[in-house]
Symmetry: C2
Subunit: 179 residues, 2 copies
């Protein structure tokens, strides 16, 4: 239920359209909270109803008009209040680990291939994060505003590294069983 909050957080940075938001949920903040464009549009409608954002249409020629959403004072109070509330552990749901867990009843070559695909996916993510880190966050000049994003990104990177090494180790351990 933190989609509302995540959207408001994005809007504290600058006013944005639903389209812009959908894109940032596919990158930057999307590394910690994913959402599709449909979810974003639906949630924006709700936020508007609750008075947490204000929206105005901007005419464009040759392109569809944009609807720019701005966080309201109530919206800012809302995220302040949210920030103090304790939050839950993220729920774990990893189908690949379920397959590993079920090793006995699973097609082994297929599983091994899926593990390798997974390693590659984590490598791709890691590369993407590293590129962003190098491009946008020069360690010497970090404003407080950037700092949080920098720390979160750093955690994202070390998390990917850990995933890569531990899936690779899993592949080795599998090899030992029937190799």
């Amino acid at each position: 239920m933190a989609l509302a909050e995540a959207i408001l957080v994005c809007l504290t940075d600058r006013p944005m359209s639903g389209y812009d938001l959908a894109k940032t949920f596919d990158a930057s903040i999307g590394f910690f909270w994913r959402a599709s464009h449909q979810q974003v549009y639906r949630e924006l409608a709700r936020l508007r109803e609750r008075g947490l954002v204000e929206s105005r249409e901007i005419e464009q020629k040759g392109k569809p008009n944009r609807i720019i959403h701005t966080i309201t004072k109530t919206g800012k109070e809302f995220i302040q209040a949210w920030s103090v509330k304790p939050c839950r552990m993220p729920s774990v749901k990893d189908e690949l680990l379920v397959k590993l867990y079920a090793l006995d009843d699973v097609d082994m070559p297929a599983l091994r291939e899926q593990l390798e695909v997974r390693v590659d996916q984590h490598k791709a993510k890691m590369d993407a994060y590293l590129r962003i880190k190098e491009r946008f966050y020069d360690k010497k000049t970090l404003s407080r505003h950037q700092k949080g994003k920098y720390i979160a990104l750093t955690m994202g990177i070390s998390n990917q590294v850990e995933m890569i090494t531990s899936f690779e180790k899993a592949i080795t351990m599998l090899g030992e069983i029937d190799g």
Copy 2:
């Protein structure tokens, strides 16, 4: 959408009641796929309709009757087929990282406390995993059936370790900003 599969995987181990399943989704397999007892009961009804499990009631005195679910031949074929299909990346949703990301608009002492709570939660999880590993999986005598669970558990542990160190690092980095 892998709850059905996760339940079937549990039932390959031994026939179980919904209550038993709900408990294992709160431990063992629940480390990789969480589900509440309501979800389990609903999914069991569907699996029965699809002929993937068979259920029979067992009378008890002094306690409510148990309904024991057994995986059918069709059920076993179903998980074989599932095991070959590629699976998705787990979706990331971590409210605490969103708060870190939004550092500028957040109550700092509250955030720091939440980070510390989080470190403790990961430590508790790690301890729980380690205890299970020691109790049930003696490295020298691992059947193929145990092996997958052992590898998955090992990954769970190193994942927790990584979380602990990287959240601790985040706390240190936060301290540097205004300490």
